[in-house]
């Protein structure tokens, strides 16, 4: 994999020499390339490829606790089991719902805020940019713990706020509302990050484009929707892919909130949580690897479909 990248990167630098063998200089350069890649390659192989291969090997074996801890090769049996496992499938359906709700909400908010900040040139815009971004700087676990307290019926502000209007506060940690409560935490945490990416892309657009559009009679709204958004399409595709993958691997926030809502967030809430409890609560390392791989396959398929569908916008065509 690394070799193809180097070749591809080196290719434009030597047009016309493709037919003959590489010169001595090129060979030397390649060695330097390898040297510079080495630190990354070692880490990449040791901490990503090797564990992945090991996890795949585990997923092809089965070790029942009643069979004396003997590991038996069972081929794809675990994969058959996982794709018929009601807990895994319901977890997948749940993260699917999260994708449908959370990704549009996050991206919509991030783009809206970025567009507004892009048109403002006051000190206020700098301050708001920072304020929107700050939640991303808070570690996810701390953020989720903090929201856990805010949602708490006793310690949170909801009781006071609703009580002021003579109403009963809803229980944000109940089964009906936990979905929205989680969407809220993730949105709060990530909108700032996506906003910064979109904002940076907007700043990279040459202002003369806007002047030309204005001369042609475009209004602010038309500039926003007809000029700015199409011009930052590739950044948008990128953040949607980030959001998509992050949501399918949903783990941290529900795991932290589970400490205050064990009923509403069961151990099978998301596929990642299911894999985690399989491995570390039930000692089912083989099946946990299978769940993780199955999730990985689905994430890959999901991302691929999305990237294929948006190949025009992203410039990957």
């Amino acid at each position: 994999m690394t070799s193809t990248t180097t070749e591809r990167a080196a290719a434009p630098a030597r047009p016309g020499r493709r037919r003959g063998g590489p010169s001595l200089l090129d060979t030397k350069r390649q060695w330097w390339g390898w040297l510079f890649l080495a630190p990354f390659t070692v880490v990449f192989v040791l901490f990503l490829l090797v564990p992945l291969a090991y996890a795949f090997w585990l997923s092809l074996h089965t070790k029942g606790i009643a069979t004396g801890g003997e590991s038996v090769f069972t081929g794809v049996a675990n994969y058959v089991r996982v794709f018929t496992d009601a807990d895994f499938l319901s977890g997948m359906a749940r993260v699917g719902k999260f994708v449908l709700v959370m990704v549009p909400v996050q991206i919509g908010l991030a783009v809206a805020i970025a567009l507004v900040l892009d048109t403002l040139a006051t000190r206020l815009s700098k301050a708001s940019r920072l304020l929107v971004f700050v939640p991303y700087a808070i570690p996810a676990v701390i953020g989720a713990l903090m929201w856990g307290f805010l949602y708490s019926p006793r310690f949170g502000p909801a009781n006071d706020i609703f009580g002021f209007f003579g109403l009963d506060a809803p229980d944000f940690l109940s089964r009906d509302l936990i979905f929205g409560s989680l969407v809220n935490i993730v949105t709060w945490q990530w909108v700032g990050y996506y906003m910064i990416i979109v904002y940076a892309a907007l700043r990279a657009i040459d202002p003369s484009v806007y002047e030309a559009a204005r001369l042609d009679g475009a209004g602010d709204r038309q500039i926003a929707f007809r000029i700015k958004i199409p011009m930052i399409a590739s950044s948008m595709v990128m953040i949607v892919v980030f959001a998509l993958i992050g949501t399918l691997q949903f783990f941290t926030e529900p795991t932290v909130l589970r400490s205050v809502a064990q009923g509403a967030i069961p151990t099978t809430y998301t596929p990642n949580m299911y894999a985690y409890s399989m491995a570390f609560s039930y000692s089912q390392f083989n099946y946990a690897s299978t769940i993780a791989f199955a999730l990985g396959i689905l994430v890959f398929i999901g991302s691929y479909i999305f990237l294929y569908a948006t190949r025009k916008q992203s410039g990957l065509k």
Binding site: F149, Q262, S277, S281, Y282
Partner: protein, 449 residues
């Protein structure tokens, strides 16, 4: 430039060497090269070192006492987390084949989970089989099977009823002694104007709910570690339905709350008068004392657990723990010595009782006047051991847990939450748990009887 790089590499290599030297240093001459860092101070550096994972409060004092008394064995203690946190690390270490401590604190309900993984060393060959008469019969049956002794009992959780005497007095209601009276008292308190709940039924209280079922005679698992591929699973029984329907009814009538246990909301409700009764194990009072926002006028009293049939009282246990020697112990004999002797000492138990609020499962402590007659300031000077917990511990018959107990608890929490929140009934919930456990056991290669 290049020379600079080389120098940097040399410097960092020297640094690494220094680090590894430093890591070796505390071992001293002749001592086992052990890179574990101890939380406590080792008094005899040359002695055999035994690593211990334990979360007992005041464990540091207890370990220090042991180390001061022993020249040949020294305990190196680490707190690897309480309950599930520690079990996760232990399971991972067992799978990895390395990284487990020599001696580990485990709740007795989790022992079958680890014996089936060959994670524990049988202590009978090291003399533990001769200790049987030092412990209450129920506690001993929880840690042993056949001739094998999987762990040494330490502290127990005989269950009683802690109640707010001031609330019962204020509303003119008598504290209940049977579950019928308990249901009536719940209604009477509400009718008299008490706006809290008589108690809370937590769907995530795994061991607590097991104890309540067990009181009605529920024995869901038929499992013997000697026949590790056989298991009987009988969760959905008339006894369990009776108990669960009872609580479902009280919850439906709004007399009992169904908050999750062990959250900060729940902790506050325990002590601020939201719940009038806390059905608790003997370690419960220690738990209550550690909570903040308590009612200043609270008057706690302890009474025996309400009974289904007062003519034939049944006592139950929730939690408590034991010391086991892991299969990775470097020196099993020294490790067994630690497991057997860490708590076989009155001085240690005075620390355990007075500073840590533990309930001993060691007959010499249970029979000692200083323990039986101890007056607890938290209960207004009541002798709660004499009044409640000693009987409960003595009459507890033991309980058979499954070799996949964490899974069983998680499934129970899911089903009970469905019952409390949704249309499912007690019978539905129990049937769901039964089905999922049987399926899981079969997937694990058990023959389900």
């Amino acid at each position: 430039m290049r020379r600079g790089l080389r120098r940097a590499v040399a410097a960092s290599a020297a640094g690494l060497a220094g680090l590894s030297l430093a890591a070796c240093a505390p071992g001293g001459d002749g001592a086992p090269a052990d890179n574990t860092s101890c939380t406590n101070e080792i008094k005899v550096p040359d002695a055999t070192r035994v690593t211990l994972w334990a979360w007992y409060p005041a464990v540091e004092q207890i370990v220090d006492t042991f180390n001061a008394q022993h020249d040949d064995v020294q305990i190196c203690w680490t707190n690897a987390g309480q309950g599930a946190d520690e079990y996760g690390k232990f399971s991972t270490a067992l799978e990895a084949g390395t990284g487990a401590p020599d001696v580990i604190q485990l709740e007795s309900e989790i022992l079958p989970t680890y014996t089936i993984l060959d994670g524990l060393t049988d202590l009978a060959p090291y003399g533990a089989d001769e200790l049987e008469d030092q412990f209450p019969a129920g506690a001993w049956s929880d840690v042993s099977s056949g001739d094998a002794v999987h762990a040494i009992p330490v502290d127990g959780g005989p269950v009683g009823m802690l109640y707010r005497a001031d609330i019962f007095e204020k509303y003119g209601v008598e504290p209940p002694t049977t579950w019928d009276e308990f249901a009536r008292a719940a209604q009477d308190l509400r009718d008299a104007g008490y706006d809290g709940y008589i108690t809370n039924y937590a769907t995530n209280g795994g061991a607590f709910n097991y104890a309540l079922f067990a009181q009605a005679g529920w024995a869901p698992f038929d499992y013997d570690p000697a026949e590790r591929d056989q298991i009987g699973i009988d969760v959905d029984t008339p006894e369990a339905r009776q108990v669960l329907s009872y609580w479902e009814d009280l919850i439906d009538r709004g007399l009992v709350s169904s908050d999750d246990a062990f959250t900060s909301d729940y902790n506050t409700s325990l002590v601020d008068g939201t719940y009038a009764v806390y059905i608790a194990a003997a370690w419960g009072p220690g738990y209550l004392e550690g909570l903040s926002d308590a009612d200043s006028g609270a008057a706690w009293k302890a009474a025996p657990l309400p009974q289904w049939d007062p003519a034939e009282p049944v006592q139950v246990n929730q939690g408590g723990s034991a010391l086991a020697v892991t299969s990775q112990a470097k020196d099993p004999e020294a490790a067994a010595t630690v497991a057997m002797e860490l708590f076989d000492d009155e001085e240690t138990w005075k620390i355990g009782v007075e500073d840590a609020g533990l309930f001993p499962l060691w007959n010499l402590a249970l029979d000692a006047d200083w323990f039986t007659d101890r007056r607890y300031p938290f209960f207004g000077g009541q002798q709660v051991n004499r009044d409640v917990f000693l009987d409960a511990a003595a009459q507890y018959p033991g309980f058979t847990f499954s070799p996949f107990q964490v899974y069983a608890y998680d499934r129970q929490t899911m089903a009970l939450y469905d019952m409390v929140e949704g249309p499912a009934t007690a019978a539905d919930a129990l049937a769901t748990v039964q089905d999922s456990l049987v399926r899981y056991a079969e997937q694990q290669g058990f023959t389900v009887r």
